[in-house]
C-alpha cells in the first residue's frame, strides 16, 4: 500500500488549477513513475494526490499553422516515440523518448513528469534544451511561458510555483526546421538504466560549414545544460575532424560533472568530449552534410 492520504481526480485543466489553488499541499501525479517510487522510498508521507492523468487535452502532440510544435505535458514516451509528426520533424526527440526506461515505463511515464521531476538525468531534457523548448505553466493567476533553460533551478528543483501546472511544451519552427539532430544515451546497460551521460546535438549545415550547433547535456552537471562556448566556436567553422575535436574539448568547459557511483568526474568528462563529437557527426549527416570519415 502506498502512503496516500487523499486522492482527487481533475476532469479539466481549470478544475485542476482551482483545486491546486484551494489546497497548496496537493501533489500532482501524472504517470506516477517518479511520485510512486519516491513514496516507496519514504520521501513523501501521507501524500494528497491530484491526478491529472485523464486530462486528454494535455496529451496532444500537434503542429500549429505557423510551424510551432506543441507537445502536451501528458504525452507519454511511447506516444512521442510513435508519433508521426515527431518522427518526421524532430527525430532526435523520438530517439530520446525510446531510450528512456523500458516499454512498460514508456507506456505510462509522461514528458511533463520527466521535466517537472527536475533530474539532470531526465532523458528528454537534453533534447528539449537543444531545441530551446519553452514550457507553458498555468495557474489561477494566468499563464506564463518559460524557456526550459530557466526552468531548472538546481538538482531536483524547478521553477514550478505553488498552484502551477505544466500544460505543454512549445518548440518554435526556427528551432527545429532545417536542423539535423541526434541523441546518445550512455548507460551501463542498453535498457532500463539511468543515463551516465545524455548528449543531444542539433546542427545546421550549408555547403561544408556548420552554420549552427546546439549541444544539450544531461548528467554533466547538477541540471541539464547547454555547451555555449562550444556552440559559439562552432558557428561558421568548416566541417572537419579537427573542428569536431575542438568542439568536443570546448564542450567539456561548460560541464560541472561530479563523481558518483555510476562514474567518476574524469570519466564523464572524457565521455562528453567523445560523445559530443559522435552525436555531431550523425547530426551533420542528418542535416544534409557529408559524412566525415
Amino acid at each position: 500500500m502506498y502512503n496516500i492520504k487523499g486522492y482527487l481526480d481533475a476532469c479539466t485543466v481549470s478544475e485542476a488549477i482551482e483545486l491546486l489553488a484551494q489546497n497548496p499541499n496537493l501533489r500532482i501525479i501524472a504517470g506516477g513513475t517518479d511520485v510512486l517510487i519516491k513514496m516507496q522510498h519514504g520521501q513523501f508521507q501521507e501524500a494528497e494526490l491530484l491526478s491529472i492523468r485523464t486530462l486528454e487535452s494535455m496529451a496532444d502532440i500537434k503542429k500549429l499553422e505557423d510551424g510551432t510544435m506543441i507537445i502536451g505535458a501528458l504525452a507519454t514516451f511511447s506516444q512521442i516515440f510513435n508519433d508521426p509528426i515527431i518522427q518526421a520533424e524532430i527525430p532526435a526527440l523520438a530517439e530520446a523518448a525510446v531510450s528512456m526506461g523500458g516499454p512498460q515505463i514508456r507506456n505510462i511515464a509522461t514528458i511533463g513528469g520527466n521535466i517537472c521531476n527536475g533530474a539532470t538525468s531526465a532523458d528528454s531534457a537534453s533534447t528539449l534544451f537543444a531545441l530551446n523548448a519553452s514550457l507553458r505553466l498555468e495557474s489561477k493567476t494566468g499563464a506564463r511561458l518559460v524557456p526550459i533553460r530557466e526552468f531548472y533551478l538546481g538538482p531536483g528543483k524547478v521553477d514550478l510555483k505553488p498552484g502551477e501546472i505544466l500544460t505543454e511544451f512549445r518548440v518554435a519552427p526556427e528551432d527545429y526546421r532545417g536542423f539535423g539532430g541526434h541523441y546518445i544515451k550512455f548507460a551501463a546497460r542498453k535498457a532500463m538504466d539511468i543515463a551516465t551521460l545524455g548528449v543531444s546535438v542539433m546542427c545546421k549545415v550549408a555547403a561544408k560549414t556548420l552554420t549552427e550547433v546546439r549541444i544539450g547535456l544531461g548528467v554533466a552537471g547538477p541540471t541539464p545544460l547547454r555547451c555555449v562556448e562550444a556552440e559559439e566556436f562552432a558557428k561558421g567553422q568548416e566541417i572537419s575532424k579537427d573542428t569536431l575535436a575542438q568542439i568536443g574539448k570546448l564542450a567539456v568547459k561548460s560541464t560541472n560533472a561530479r563523481t558518483s557511483w555510476r562514474a567518476s568526474k574524469e570519466y564523464r568528462e572524457h565521455l562528453v568530449e567523445e560523445l559530443v563529437q559522435r552525436a555531431l557527426k550523425t547530426a551533420i549527416v542528418r542535416a544534409g552534410g557529408e559524412e566525415l570519415a
Binding site: M1, Y2, N3, I4, K5, G6, Y7, D9, G32, T33, L36, I37, Q40, S51, R53, V98, G101, G102, P103, Q104, I105, N107, I108, K190, A191, M192
Partner: protein, 167 residues
C-alpha cells in the same frame, strides 16, 4: 479512503470498493486472486507484475488501482481459451523452452501477446527492445526471444492439399 471502481478483468465486468492506497497489483493478487500477476521488485524494474490495460503492457505495481476505472485488464489467467487451450504465444513459449521457474513468464507472455496483436512487424533488435522491461533470472533471453519471434510469425497455412507452409 475507499473508492468504488468498475472495470473488466479478463472480459468479466467487476465493481468493487478499493482503498485509494492500493496498487493494481495488490487488488488483482490479493483481492481478486489473480496470482499469475507476480510481484518481483515492486518498483517498476522487473516486469513480473505486467498486465495489459486496454491492450497496453504496464507494470501493475506502480499503477494505482483507482486508475483502473473503466479499463479493460488482461492478466495471464485470461490468455488461454476458456476450455484451457493455450494461446499461440503460450504455445510458442512451451515449444521453445522459454520457461524455467516461470516467475517472469506471465509478464513476458502478456507483452508478447500485445506485440502480436499490434499486427506490426518487428526486427530482432526491435523485439529485444520491446521485451527489455522484463527480467528473467533463469533461462537467459535466447529462448524467450525465439519464442517471441515464433509468436509473431504469421500462421502457417495448413490444409488438406498437403502443401504445408506454402501460401
Amino acid at each position: 479512503m475507499l473508492k468504488k471502481i468498475s472495470f473488466t478483468v479478463n472480459g468479466k465486468a467487476l465493481s468493487l470498493e478499493i482503498d485509494i492506497r492500493e496498487s493494481l497489483l495488490e487488488v488483482l493478487r490479493t483481492r481478486l486472486g489473480f496470482t499469475g500477476v507476480k510481484k518481483g521488485c515492486g518498483v517498476g524494474e522487473c516486469g513480473a507484475c505486467t498486465v495489459l490495460i486496454d491492450g497496453t503492457p504496464i507494470d501493475s505495481c506502480i499503477y494505482l488501482a483507482v486508475w483502473a476505472e473503466g479499463k479493460s485488464i488482461t492478466t495471464i489467467e485470461g490468455v488461454a481459451s476458456k476450455d484451457g487451450e493455450l494461446s499461440k504465444v503460450q504455445q510458442a513459449f512451451v515449444e521453445e523452452g522459454a520457461i524455467q521457474c516461470g516467475f517472469c513468464t506471465p509478464g513476458l507472455v502478456l507483452t508478447t501477446t500485445a506485440l502480436a496483436e499490434s499486427g506490426k512487424e518487428y526486427t530482432r533488435e526491435e523485439l529485444k527492445r520491446e521485451l527489455s522491461g522484463h527480467f528473467c533470472r533463469c533461462t537467459g533471453y535466447n529462448n524467450i526471444l525465439k519464442a517471441a519471434e515464433k509468436s509473431l510469425k504469421p500462421e502457417e497455412h495448413q490444409c488438406a492439399c498437403g502443401h504445408h507452409g506454402e501460401k
